[in-house]
């Protein structure tokens, strides 16, 4: 039998296989639709929160442009963290060290800026003769420190074949300890106010807060990387099936190290944001950053099992906790309820993710 004959037989027997059967019909009703589409689901939650707080806040201040931009500003740091986390979770990894790495990176950065900015007496008086140099060095140190911790995480995960959950839990403690040792748990004094006036509290065209602009540009870039480049494809391939990625000739270990370094570098950028927004370190804060970033990513439709990830979804996901916190403050309610709400939403998101996986396998 020749190939052509076989094909003929096959065609005659109607055996010609077809890949990509028509999409199953969408069931009627928005509830069914919502269950199918993550973006719709997050969008609905965000709109619901906006409407709710918009209606109940005095003079509807919650939905005024000013307040919405404040929400964006407050979300900008978690956005950076969520972008890196989207790649890691997409590759079926996790990083629990980001919150405390951020503190360590900001401490090292602040100390660099203060040390290079001028003499001890000068900086104590608020004079910084070498401001530009000091800030540049501070940014490099923050990103370098973050990337360094990421490199450590990546090497421990790949070289020692340890689970990233445990590795980053451990390095999280180490980073926190080192930050507290270096500062005796007190914030680094004399961080220049110019960081705040020039960036942290400044607005692009007088409207959009700079940190939000930077976070959105970074997000746009990495959305593109995930969707359009080999790096993004391989990230998801590793998360989908590590074995398949290895067999396809991908250097999985090297790729994972890159992902942890990327996460760390973004932590470094978030650390710079921290200094610029507060004109200070925040060594007792960031306790909930891990939760916020991971929740944002998972709520945004990235699968904890890896292989499916969405930078856009993660961005939307970051808004939910920030909107809750902001709305509760406006309502003069303890903002701490947001953590409870985020925890509940995270469990729901993970549950839906799991259900989706079980249905499709």
């Amino acid at each position: 039998m020749t190939r052509e004959e076989a094909l003929e037989i096959a065609a005659a027997a109607g055996a010609e296989e077809t890949i990509g059967a028509p999409e199953p019909e969408i069931r009627e009703g928005w509830l069914a639709l919502a269950r199918g589409s993550t973006a719709f689901w997050i969008g609905a939650v965000i709109v619901a929160i906006a409407i709710l707080f918009g209606l109940v806040s005095p003079n509807n201040v919650f939905v005024k442009a000013d307040n919405l931009l404040t929400i964006g500003l407050n979300a900008s740091q978690i956005m950076l963290l969520a972008i890196g986390m989207t790649f890691l979770i997409g590759a079926a990894q996790l990083d629990l060290s980001i919150g405390f790495s951020l503190i360590l990176a900001s401490v090292l950065s602040a100390k660099t800026i203060v040390a290079l900015g001028g003499t001890t007496e000068q900086v104590a008086r608020g004079e910084y003769p070498n401001l530009a140099l000091a800030v540049t060095a501070g940014i490099v140190v923050a990103i370098g420190a973050g990337a360094g911790i990421g490199l450590l995480n990546g090497l421990l995960v790949t070289r020692l074949r340890l689970n990233s959950f445990i590795v980053t839990l451990a390095t999280s403690g180490i980073a926190y300890g080192v930050a507290l040792i270096l500062t005796s748990a007190a914030n680094v004094p004399f961080v220049p106010d110019q960081l705040q006036s020039g960036f942290g509290a400044a607005k692009f065209l007088g409207v959009i807060p700079y940190p939000l602009v930077v976070a959105l540009v970074v997000a746009g870039f990495f959305w593109w990387v995930l969707r359009r480049t080999r790096f993004g494809l391989r990230t998801l391939a590793i998360g989908s099936s590590r074995e398949a990625a290895i067999r396809a000739g991908i250097d999985v270990d090297a790729h994972l190290v890159k992902l942890f370094v990327l996460m760390g570098a973004l932590v470094g950028v978030a650390a710079v944001f921290d200094l610029a927004r507060n004109a200070s370190t925040n060594v007792v804060g960031h306790q909930s950053d891990n939760l916020a970033a991971i929740a944002a990513v998972v709520i945004g439709g990235t699968s904890l099992f890896g292989g499916i990830a969405s930078v856009g979804g993660s961005l939307l996901g970051t808004l939910i906790p920030v909107m809750l916190g902001n709305g509760l403050v406006i309502m003069r309610v303890e903002p701490f309820y947001q953590f409870v709400a985020v925890g509940v939403i995270l469990i729901l998101a993970v549950y839906f993710d799991q259900r989706r996986r079980e249905r499709s396998s």
Binding site: L7, A15, T18, I19, T229, A244, A245, I246, S360
Partner: protein, 256 residues
């Protein structure tokens, strides 16, 4: 069927040994793959066929023995290394990434990258990838409507066809196929074997593992029988009888 002649050897495995803990999966296995030739590797479950294949394609490291590619001794470090040597494999478990699309799976590890500044960022040329995927699957009689569907949504047979298409598409020296038609219906497997013959006719060395021995006798040029971690004999597929092969697999002494 006449064997494709040629003293040239694409891949020669000699004395391959592999332990899994106390289990001796391979105890000095020998195998020769020649360009243009289809070699069927048969043997009972657990005989070591998959393990031997994985060693040749770099997915496992042997404990002992030698591999030669075109008569050069090579220590195959990884599947990537094997790919560089032109050796591609259809694994028994297919090794596809279920969340990635059909086209992305076909190109995984060999992505088509755009030129210019986009090349620097590794921007994928999905248009070209789709065209080639459609063609590669078309050669296996698979008509693709939507190359963006995740592989998770394909039937078992479609996945297997994709894995076969991928290996044949990239191989330049040899294709190793571990039960490539186990999930396929009769028509589809007929097409796969015709494609395999066409690939061999182009000069590829082909190794096929299958439990479908009658089929192997008609498709393959040579047939190698494995038992307990060794290749006990290699015969001309045209000259051997089914009963003899089965007897060899099960350990009966057969007059050659």
């Amino acid at each position: 069927m006449t064997a494709v002649p040629g003293s040239e050897v694409a891949i020669r495995a000699t004395g391959i040994v592999k332990h899994f803990g106390h289990l001796e999966a391979l105890r000095g296995a020998d195998l020769v793959l020649r360009p243009g030739q289809i070699l069927a590797l048969v043997g009972d479950n657990g005989a070591g066929k998959s393990t031997l294949t994985k060693i040749i394609c770099g997915a496992l490291a042997p404990d002992d023995g030698e591999l030669r590619f075109w008569d050069e001794p090579v220590r195959v470090q990884s599947t990537r290394h094997a790919h560089e040597l032109g050796v591609y494999t259809v694994y028994q478990d297919l090794a596809l990434a279920p969340d990635l699309s059909v086209a992305d799976n076909l190109f995984l590890g060999r992505e088509a990258i755009a030129g210019g500044w986009q090349g620097w960022f590794g921007v994928l040329e999905r248009g070209a990838m789709h065209v080639e995927t459609r063609a590669a699957l078309g050669r296996l009689g698979i008509n693709v409507r939507n190359l963006n569907v995740p592989v998770r949504n394909l039937s078992g047979g479609q996945r297997q066809a994709l894995a076969v298409a991928r290996a044949i598409n990239w191989a330049t020296t040899a294709v190793l196929m571990d039960e490539p038609t186990a999930a396929l219906g009769p028509m589809q497997s007929a097409i796969v074997y015709e494609t395999v013959k066409a690939a061999a006719a182009r000069g590829l060395a082909v190794l096929v593992i299958s439990h479908d021995i009658p089929r192997m006798l008609s498709v393959a040029h040579r047939i190698a029988v494995m038992r307990h971690g060794r290749v006990i004999t290699e015969l001309d597929a045209g000259a051997v009888k089914l009963a003899d092969v089965i007897g060899l697999m099960l350990g009966e002494e057969v007059a050659a």
